[in-house]
């Protein structure tokens, strides 16, 4: 059963909205999903002033960026899979397996293309690969190896964004703590005044 999360998108006050800047949503991403997420976080945190709204928006922006980078990682591996398959085929294809071209590189390229279009060829290639102890997981491993430098850079960016997002949470926490100290002190003043009034001799 799917659970639909209902959030109020107009939770953001009209006077705050223009101060927050635009949503950092790409053309390939969904603005609605970002707005829902912002509304959800705002509902949980209940920002009280502009300063808190800015911190909440920052938290959401960073979380959105983290999500984008995390999604990009498997995508980067998927994109490299065909190149990885070609490279594996190039190393295992025997001359008698050549059907389309005389060159090993070209033959591997054509076969890698057919992997995605022809189920029979895919089965054939899986069988050939199994003879060399290679399976589909090894294609993924090869793809990761091909993109290792880029993946490491994305990991660095992810770590940096996660650190900033956590700092944002700490800042909101600190601000709340300071405000609660302020509230606590003012409560003491109010309680003190009430106590003084109670102890004061009655005029009656």
């Amino acid at each position: 059963m799917s659970v639909k999360i209902v959030v109020k998108k107009n939770k953001i006050p009209a006077e705050v909205r223009p101060l927050l800047g635009r949503a950092p949503v790409l053309r390939s991403e969904q603005v609605d999903a970002y707005e829902d997420f912002l509304a959800l976080v705002a509902e949980a945190v209940c920002p009280m002033d502009t300063l808190e709204w800015i911190l909440v928006k920052d938290y959401v922006d960073l979380a959105w960026e983290i999500r984008r980078l995390r999604c990009a990682k498997p995508g980067m591996i998927d994109v490299a899979r065909k190149q990885a398959l070609r490279s594996i085929l190039e190393s295992i294809l025997e001359r008698e397996d050549f059907e389309h071209a005389a060159s090993r590189t070209l033959e591997a390229e054509v076969k890698a293309d057919e992997w995605y279009t022809d189920v029979a060829v895919k089965e054939e290639l899986l069988e050939l690969m199994s003879r060399y102890g290679v399976d589909e997981d090894m294609i993924t491993a090869e793809a990761i190896a091909l993109r290792s430098r880029e993946l490491a850079q994305v990991d660095l960016m992810l770590a940096s964004a996660e650190k900033r997002r956590n700092e944002m949470l700490r800042e909101i926490g600190l601000y709340r703590e300071l405000l609660s100290t302020k509230l606590g002190d003012s409560t003491k003043v109010v309680e003190g005044e009430a106590y003084d009034i109670a102890l004061a001799p009655s005029n009656n």
């Binding site: 950092p24 390939s28 800015i54 995508g75 995605y116 850079q153």
Partner: protein, 167 residues
């Protein structure tokens, strides 16, 4: 080694080259090395003054003392710089996505199952864009960190003084 004839010709040509002459071309040439302008402070952009002031007043809240307003202004500048960096990051990624070829058959076929073909194609497009823009994205991190640390300092001052003023 350069021949004496070529050397003389080079010197002649260099003497004839005077660079930009008019004010407009000098102004244009001054922007030759500009890439994104993110290292230029917003204080140098007069069109941003009103926006900085508006945000600074909102951040200062009810406080109107000059020190609070100054810190709020610093925080507002840094916040707008941060928004500028993020807008540029979005621009870079959108541009890269537009330059990319349409998603390949692997994504269209949804090879691994699970997510729908269109979601997979979107994921692949974003992955290609991120991969292609990695050096620029890494460089943008520096500007974001700088703006964030400026904003944090000013905001912390504002946070602490909220308490100090009221107690």
């Amino acid at each position: 080694m350069t021949s004496p004839r070529k050397l003389i010709a080079n010197r002649e040509n260099a003497r004839r080259s005077t660079g930009p002459r008019t004010l407009a071309s000098k102004a244009r040439a001054a922007q030759n090395s500009m890439r994104h302008g993110l290292s230029v402070s917003l204080v140098r952009a007069p069109e941003m003054f009103a926006e900085i002031d508006r945000l600074a007043v909102a951040l200062a809240g009810s406080r109107r003392d000059p020190t609070a307003l100054e810190q709020a202004r610093i925080a507002a500048e840094a916040e707008l710089e941060l928004q500028r960096v993020r807008a540029y990051r979005k621009f870079v990624l959108d541009e890269k996505t537009a330059q990319m070829a349409p998603p390949c058959r692997l994504a269209a076929a949804g090879e691994n199952g699970g997510s729908s073909p269109s979601a997979k194609a979107n994921q692949e497009q974003t992955a290609r864009a991120v991969c292609g823009a990695l050096p620029e994205l890494a460089a943008l991190d520096r500007y974001e960190k700088r703006a964030l640390s400026r904003r944090r300092r000013a905001m912390l001052w504002l946070m602490y003084t909220v308490v100090a003023v009221s107690t």
